[in-house]
């Protein structure tokens, strides 16, 4: 379970987020929608512990218990930009970002191979990122976020600039993760993509929570 209570974020006296609260259960996929500047990326950065909120509290529950360990072990973050080292191959990128999993390189390599296999990246495992297609880069970008097999996955605009086929692949990956009971949060401007992947929806406007609840036909009109 993910419990978010009264999150606020102020940067240089400007309110970026005000009083955001919601609860997600295991297997929930939350879509965060809203216009540009609504605070979607800031919220996802706070949820993935990259930046701290000015006020409020976030509780991560694993197997029903409040998780008190290192958050990085249960959180996977997929940034909006393709944050990869273009001059390295897929394997090295996965090893680099997975280097904190274990002090045993074989374990890290094993995890990297597993996630690459799950996302269909094995054929190009040793290909330099600069030579990959946009869609494959997106998949590698997601693979890095998932290499630790996290319970909570936060994806910032995962389908920006990808074609229809790559988008379908990503939808399939999300659906798989959902079936494993992971809690996923996605920001996107593509309502169709959110509709296909999410069961919960959070609408933000000027940093304020306009709606949180089930993603159904009725709510689509509010976006």
């Amino acid at each position: 379970m993910l419990k978010v209570s009264h999150i606020c974020k102020t940067i240089e006296n400007k309110n970026i987020l005000s009083n955001i609260s919601f609860i997600l259960n295991d297997g929930d996929v939350l879509g965060i929608a809203g216009p540009n500047g609504a605070g979607k990326s800031t919220l996802i950065s706070i949820l993935s512990t990259i930046i701290k909120p000015t006020k409020g509290n976030i509780s991560y529950y694993v197997n029903g218990d409040l998780y008190k360990g290192e958050k990085k072990d249960i959180i996977g973050y997929v940034p909006q930009d393709i944050a990869l080292y273009e001059e390295l191959n897929i394997k090295d990128n996965l090893l680099l970002f997975g280097s904190t999993i274990s002090n045993d390189t074989r374990i890290v390599l094993n995890k990297a191979t597993n996630i690459a296999r799950a996302l269909g990246l094995m054929d190009e495992f040793k290909t330099r990122v600069s030579k990959l297609s946009g869609g494959t880069k997106r998949r590698v970008n997601i693979a890095i976020g998932l290499i630790r097999d996290p319970k909570f996955v936060f994806m910032d605009e995962p389908v920006v600039g990808v074609d229809y086929r790559a988008r379908r692949d990503i939808e399939y990956i999300i659906s798989n993760m959902r079936s494993q009971g992971k809690i996923i949060t996605i920001t996107s401007h593509l309502i169709e993509f959110l509709e296909n992947t999410c069961n919960k929806l959070l609408i933000l406007e000027n940093g304020k929570q306009k709606y949180f609840g089930d993603f159904d036909d009725e709510v689509k009109s509010k976006i």
């Binding site: 512990t49 990259i50 080292y85």
Partner: protein
């Protein structure tokens, strides 16, 4: 209780190993990034080849001569003075200056007309004066004192006088022995001066045998070629630091730093890996460069090379840290590059790697004690690491670590 302690020690060891493994993996990856940026390596190698060839070209063309002619007016024709002058004109100075023998009046005229930069005058009867224990002087008339060659010449002559004095001091040991053996005062003075001149003569003529001697290095001072070679190393070090850390800005802009931090890597790992990888590459490249230089102009000595590696690595780490701060702190390319060029231009000018500090304002010269390029340059020239320099280097490390931390915080992820 004992078991608990053992457990704590094991946990600490395991943590250290984990930290080391993370750092070593990140360093390996950073090195791969550098290797994969083939164009940078090729550019740096070309730069090195260019410098090596430049030095070889210069050496084959009788050294660096910067419109430098020195007039010699030798009015004393004794063996001792001839030995002295031969060693001035035929030793390392010949790489820097061209000598023209003349008389005093003509020499002064040439100096006035700027046709020579200096005039060395040895008065008639100098040897006689020395033989009778009187003070004799080696006169140096200089024109343009900001001329680099003149600086070296003054340095050379100062050291020459020092050797003469050392020789005389050494000869004084025999004063009492000669007295005990019945030499009168004049006889003792005469013998003493003979020993002193012999000492100088042996020192100079057998100089080549004692190539490794620190005294000899001190005597000759830095030749122009080694001076500018060491300066070139520092400039290439700055260029290589820029090449290897150029991506830091991109790492921030494309979210790679943010992502690394979110996957549990900390700031220490990120920057240490970058510094270790960058410094290793540029040091290895420049060791090759240094080895080629030693083979071409000096003698390949493992001891000297190891000293070079230590001193160069020390300087190189600080240069890389300074470059990293620029790339972390300033995100605007134009502003960053302008600040960078200004900063390193001032730092280089104030360090004496472009022009010797003796040509500059006294304040600049005094400040150079704190200038890392000046410290690095002196170390590369073979001067020893003083306590003061150690403290300044440690101070640099401390300030730069804090600066990188705050630059990172200011930039944000």
């Amino acid at each position: 209780m004992e078991n608990k302690n053992i457990l704590v020690i094991l946990m600490m060891k395991s943590n250290l190993k984990f930290e080391y493994n993370k750092l070593s993996m990140l360093t390996k990856i950073e090195m791969k990034r550098i290797i994969n940026q083939l164009s940078n390596i090729v550019l740096l190698a070309l730069l090195l080849i260019l410098f090596v060839n430049m030095f070889i070209f210069i050496s084959k063309n009788n050294g660096i001569k910067i419109q430098t002619k020195v007039a010699l007016s030798i009015e004393d024709n004794s063996f001792e003075v001839n030995t002295l002058m031969k060693n001035i004109t035929e030793n390392k100075l010949k790489n820097i200056v061209e000598f023209e023998e003349t008389n005093l009046d003509n020499g002064l005229k040439l100096l006035k007309n700027n046709e020579v930069v200096a005039l060395i005058h040895v008065d008639e009867g100098t040897t006689e004066l020395l033989n009778y224990g009187k003070a004799a002087s080696l006169n140096l008339y200089v024109g343009n004192t900001s001329n680099i060659a003149v600086k070296f010449l003054i340095n050379y002559l100062k050291n020459l006088v020092k050797v003469l004095n050392e020789g005389q001091s050494g000869a004084m040991i025999y004063w009492d022995i000669m007295k005990a053996n019945g030499f009168n005062f004049d006889g003792r003075i005469k013998e003493l001066n003979k020993i002193a001149l012999n000492y100088m003569s042996v020192f100079l003529t057998r100089g080549g045998v004692f190539e490794e001697s620190k005294d000899l290095d001190k005597f000759y001072g830095a030749s122009l070629i080694s001076y500018y070679f060491s300066a070139s190393l520092l400039i290439i070090s700055i260029i290589s630091a820029v090449m290897f850390h150029l991506d830091i800005d991109d790492d921030f802009k494309k979210g790679r730093i943010r992502r690394a931090l979110s996957s549990g890597v900390n700031l220490l790992h990120i920057y240490c890996a970058k510094i270790i990888a960058g410094v290793t590459f540029s040091t290895v490249l420049l060791i090759i460069f240094k080895a080629i230089y030693m083979v071409s102009f000096d003698a390949l000595s493992i001891g000297k090379l190891l000293k070079f590696i230590t001193y160069f690595t020390l300087t190189n780490v600080i240069i890389h840290m300074i470059v990293i701060i620029f790339y972390v702190l300033i995100s605007n390319d134009i502003v960053r590059d302008s600040c960078f060029v200004m900063f390193f231009l001032i730092l280089s000018l104030a360090s004496g790697i472009i022009l010797p500090l003796t040509s500059m304002n006294k304040i600049f010269a005094a400040l150079s004690r704190f200038n890392i390029l000046a410290i690095g340059h002196n170390l590369l020239l073979g001067y020893s690491l003083s306590i003061g320099s150690i403290l300044i280097i440690l101070f640099y490390f401390l300030i730069l670590i804090i600066s990188i931390y705050y630059a990172h915080k200011k930039r944000g992820v």
